[in-house]
C-alpha cells in the first residue's frame, strides 16, 4: 500500500496524517443504536446533498461558489450531536452545507438558497456561502476566512451574560488558523473562560495549498497549547470519536471551564470550490485522494453498525435511497421556487426597527 512520507512536521498528527491508515470500521462505544443510526443518516444526507449540488454546478443551474464538504461529514455531524439547539449557537464558514444540515437546517431551504430562490434559508440573498438557521442555533456562515471565530466567541460571552448555560461553536478550517483573529479570539476566550468550541477541520488544504507549504507543522493544536486552551486532536472521519470529544468540550464549557480547541483531521473529496477534484489547479492529490476515500466516515460507521447487528445491509441501502430521494425532491422544489422580488436588494438593508 502506498503511504505518504511522514515528515517530522506531519508526525505531529501521528497516524491521522497517513491516509493509508484508519480505514477500519469505527468503534461504536456506548451510544444507543438509534443515536448512531441518526448520525449515519445525517452524514448520508450531507453526502447526498453535496453530490446533488455538485451536479447542479456541473449543469450550470447553481452559479454561486459552492464549496463541498463530501468526505468531512463526520466533523459536522459529530459536533452537532453534542449540541443542545437552539440554546447552543453555531457559526460556519465557506464550506458549511454540512454544518447547516447537521444542526437540523431544512434541506429544501438549502437547495433553494443555492439556486438563489426566495424560499432559501436566507431568502435567496446569500447563496451557498451564507446559510442561516436560527431555529437550530446556526446564526450564520460566511466565507471571510476566520470571521466567525470572534463572532462565536461573542455568542459565548452572551451565553455567559444570559446565564443560559449555552455554548457556541465556530467551525473553520486549517487555513483560518493563519489569520490573526483566530489567535486574538483564542486569547480572549481563554482569558475570559468563555464557553466556546473552536472546531478546526484540518483537511490539510487551504484552497490549493497544502498545509506543509503554509505552516511549519501539520497540526494546528499547538496554537491551543500556546493560548492555554484545552485541546484534542481527533480522527475527523470517525463520527463517534468526534461526538465524544465534542461532548467533553461542551461539558467543559457548560461547567464554566472555558473554551476547547478541537482539531478534527479530515480530507475533502472535491476540490476547494466546485464539483471537480482539484487535479486541474496544480494540486497533486491523485496519490492521496483514493486512500482518503478509503477512510470514508460514512462507510466506516455503516460497517460498524452492520457488524454490531444494529443494521442489516438492506437497512443501509434503504437509508441511502431515502436521503437520495429527499435531495431529489428538494432540487425539484428549488427549481420551481420563485426568485426574490426586485425590491429585495434594498428591502433587507436595514431592519428600521428600534427596540
Amino acid at each position: 500500500m502506498q503511504s505518504i512520507e511522514l515528515t517530522s512536521a506531519a508526525r505531529a498528527l501521528g497516524l491521522l496524517a497517513d491516509p493509508a491508515q484508519g480505514h477500519a470500521p469505527v468503534a461504536l462505544g456506548s451510544r444507543p443504536p438509534e443515536a448512531l443510526v441518526a448520525m449515519l443518516r445525517s452524514m448520508m444526507l450531507i453526502r447526498a446533498a453535496e453530490n446533488g449540488i455538485a451536479e447542479l454546478v456541473r449543469t450550470g443551474e447553481a452559479r454561486c461558489p459552492c464549496h463541498l464538504a463530501a468526505g468531512q461529514e463526520a466533523c459536522a455531524v459529530g459536533v452537532a450531536a453534542a449540541l443542545d439547539t437552539p440554546r447552543d449557537k453555531s457559526f460556519g464558514a465557506h464550506r458549511s452545507h454540512g454544518h447547516y444540515l447537521a444542526v437540523g437546517g431544512d434541506l429544501d431551504a438549502l437547495l433553494a438558497e443555492v439556486l438563489g430562490k426566495e424560499t432559501g434559508c436566507s431568502h435567496g440573498m446569500g447563496g451557498s456561502m451564507h446559510l442561516v438557521s436560527p431555529e437550530h442555533g446556526l446564526l450564520g456562515t460566511v466565507p471571510i476566512v476566520g470571521a466567525t471565530i470572534p463572532i462565536a466567541t461573542g455568542a459565548a460571552l452572551a451565553a455567559r451574560l444570559d446565564g443560559s448555560g449555552g455554548v457556541s461553536v465556530s467551525f473553520f478550517g486549517d487555513g483560518a488558523t493563519e489569520e490573526g483573529v483566530f489567535h486574538e479570539s483564542m486569547n480572549l476566550a481563554a482569558t475570559m473562560a468563555l464557553p466556546v468550541l473552536f472546531v478546526c477541520e484540518n483537511n490539510l488544504f487551504s484552497s490549493h495549498l497544502h498545509i506543509s507549504l503554509r505552516q511549519p507543522d501539520w497540526s494546528t493544536a499547538r496554537y491551543a497549547e500556546a493560548h492555554k486552551v484545552a485541546w484534542e486532536v481527533v480522527d475527523g472521519n470517525d463520527v463517534v470519536a468526534v461526538a465524544d470529544a465534542a461532548e467533553r468540550a461542551v461539558a467543559r464549557g457548560r461547567a464554566g471551564h472555558g473554551p476547547t480547541f478541537l482539531e478534527l483531521v479530515t480530507y475533502r473529496w472535491y476540490g476547494h470550490v466546485g464539483p471537480r477534484d482539484d487535479q486541474d489547479v496544480g494540486v497533486k492529490r491523485d496519490g492521496e485522494l483514493p486512500l482518503w476515500k478509503r477512510r470514508d466516515p460514512i462507510r466506516r460507521l455503516e460497517e460498524a453498525l452492520v457488524a454490531s447487528g444494529a443494521l442489516e445491509p438492506g437497512d443501509v441501502a434503504s437509508l441511502r435511497q431515502a436521503v437520495d430521494a429527499d435531495v431529489e425532491r428538494a432540487v425539484e422544489l428549488a427549481r420551481r421556487a420563485p426568485y426574490p422580488q426586485a425590491d429585495a436588494t434594498a428591502k433587507y438593508l436595514y431592519t428600521g426597527g428600534t427596540r
Binding site: 450564520g140 470571521a147 470572534p150 486574538e184 438593508l349 428600521g352
Partner: protein
C-alpha cells in the same frame, strides 16, 4: 411647567447615555480597551465599571478585531453591545467585522438575523499627536450600505444618538469627537430614544448661505454663523447628525432658500462627505437655483502633521469657514 433638564458637558452626556442604557436595558453591555482606566476616553465613561460591574463594562486584551467580532456575536445571540474604540485609528484593525460582517448581516441572510451592535469610534486629534492618532475617516464608513453612521455635535445628541443607536436593531457606528467634550448645554432629562431616525436638524436659521456639517464640523459651522452675524451675513446651519443613510431633504430645501452652500468637514476632501453633500445638492436643485458655486472646507489632503505651526494650518477652523462664506457671498456684494 418647565421641562426637567440636566446641565451637562458633551463628555458627561456620553456617560449619561451609557448609564441610561446600562440601567434601563439589562441586555446592554460595553466592551473595549481602557474601560477600567480613568483616562482612555476622557470623562465620557468615568467609573461606569464600578457602578454597573465589570461583567457588563469589560476591559479587554489589545485585540480590536476579536473584541469587535465578539460584540457582533453577542448581538446576534440577543445582547445589545457597545464596543468602544478610544481612537478611530485603532478601530481600523477591526474593519472586517464592521464593514464586511455586521453591515452585511441583515442583507446577506435576508434579515434572518439582526445585528444590534454599536461601534463607538472616538476622534482624538490635535496636540501634536500626528498621523496615526488623528483620523476620522467617517466618509469611508458612510460609504457602506447597511452601516448606520452617526456623528453627534450637540450635547443632547452625544447622549441621545448613543442611546438610540444602541436601541436600534441595525449596526451603528457612533463617532464622537474629543474636541467637543467641553461643550455644555442644558438638555432634557429624558433621552430621545428615536434620535437616530430624526434626520438632519437646522441648528441656526439664516437666509444668505447654508452651512452643512456633522460632528465637530457642525460645531465649527455654528460658531462661524455667530461671527458671520456680526458681519451682517445670515447663515443657516444644518447639522447632519446621521451621515448614513444620508438624508438630504433638509439641506436641499435650505440651499434652495439661501442660494449658497458651504460644506464643512473634518475629513479629507477626495471622495469625502463634503463632496457628497455638494453633489447631492447640485443634482437635486434646478440649474440656476444657486447664486454662487458651492464650496468645501475640509482637511488638507495629507496625513496630520505633528509640528505646531503645521498642525495649526492643517485643521478646519472657524476662520476658514468664515473665509469660505465671505468668498461665497462675494466681497462688497450687497446681501438681500
Amino acid at each position: 411647567m418647565k421641562e426637567e433638564t440636566l446641565s451637562l458637558s458633551y463628555g458627561t452626556a456620553v456617560r449619561e447615555g451609557f448609564a441610561y442604557l446600562l440601567r434601563e436595558h439589562p441586555e446592554v453591555f460595553v466592551i473595549g480597551q481602557g474601560l477600567w482606566s480613568p483616562w482612555y476616553v476622557g470623562n465620557s465613561m468615568t467609573e461606569l465599571d464600578r457602578e454597573f460591574g465589570r461583567e457588563r463594562v469589560i476591559d479587554t486584551p489589545v485585540s480590536e478585531l476579536a473584541c469587535t467580532g465578539a460584540a457582533l456575536g453577542a448581538a446576534l445571540a440577543g445582547r445589545r453591545p457597545i464596543v468602544v474604540h478610544p481612537r478611530v485609528d485603532f478601530m481600523l484593525l477591526a474593519v472586517d467585522q464592521i464593514v464586511t460582517q455586521a453591515a452585511k448581516w441583515s442583507s446577506m441572510f435576508g434579515r434572518a438575523g439582526a445585528a444590534p451592535v454599536v461601534f463607538r469610534g472616538i476622534v482624538n486629534r490635535g496636540g501634536e499627536q500626528g498621523a496615526q492618532h488623528s483620523q476620522s475617516l467617517h466618509s469611508w464608513f458612510a460609504h457602506v450600505p447597511g452601516l448606520r453612521v452617526v456623528m453627534p455635535a450637540s450635547v443632547a445628541d452625544a447622549r441621545d444618538l448613543l442611546v438610540s443607536a444602541t436601541l436600534c436593531d441595525d449596526p451603528v457606528l457612533y463617532i464622537d469627537d474629543r474636541w467637543l467634550y467641553e461643550r455644555e448645554a442644558d438638555i432634557p432629562a429624558i433621552p430621545d430614544v428615536d434620535a437616530i431616525h430624526r434626520g438632519p436638524r437646522i441648528v441656526r436659521a439664516g437666509t444668505d448661505v447654508t452651512l452643512v456639517g456633522a460632528g465637530y464640523a457642525s460645531y465649527l459651522a455654528e460658531q462661524a454663523a455667530d461671527e458671520l452675524a456680526a458681519l451682517g451675513i445670515s447663515a443657516e446651519v444644518v447639522d447632519l447628525r446621521t451621515i448614513n443613510p444620508l438624508e438630504m431633504d433638509v439641506v436641499v430645501a435650505s440651499v434652495e432658500r439661501t442660494g449658497r452652500l458651504v460644506a464643512v468637514d473634518g475629513d479629507w476632501t477626495v471622495c469625502g462627505l463634503a463632496g457628497e453633500i455638494v453633489a447631492a445638492v447640485v443634482e437635486r436643485l434646478p440649474l440656476g437655483a444657486m447664486v454662487a458655486k458651492p464650496r468645501r472646507v475640509t482637511l488638507q489632503d495629507a496625513p496630520a502633521p505633528t509640528s505646531r505651526p503645521l498642525e495649526a494650518r492643517y485643521y478646519p477652523t472657524v476662520e476658514k469657514v468664515v473665509a469660505a462664506v465671505r468668498a461665497s457671498v462675494g466681497l462688497g456684494v450687497a446681501l438681500a
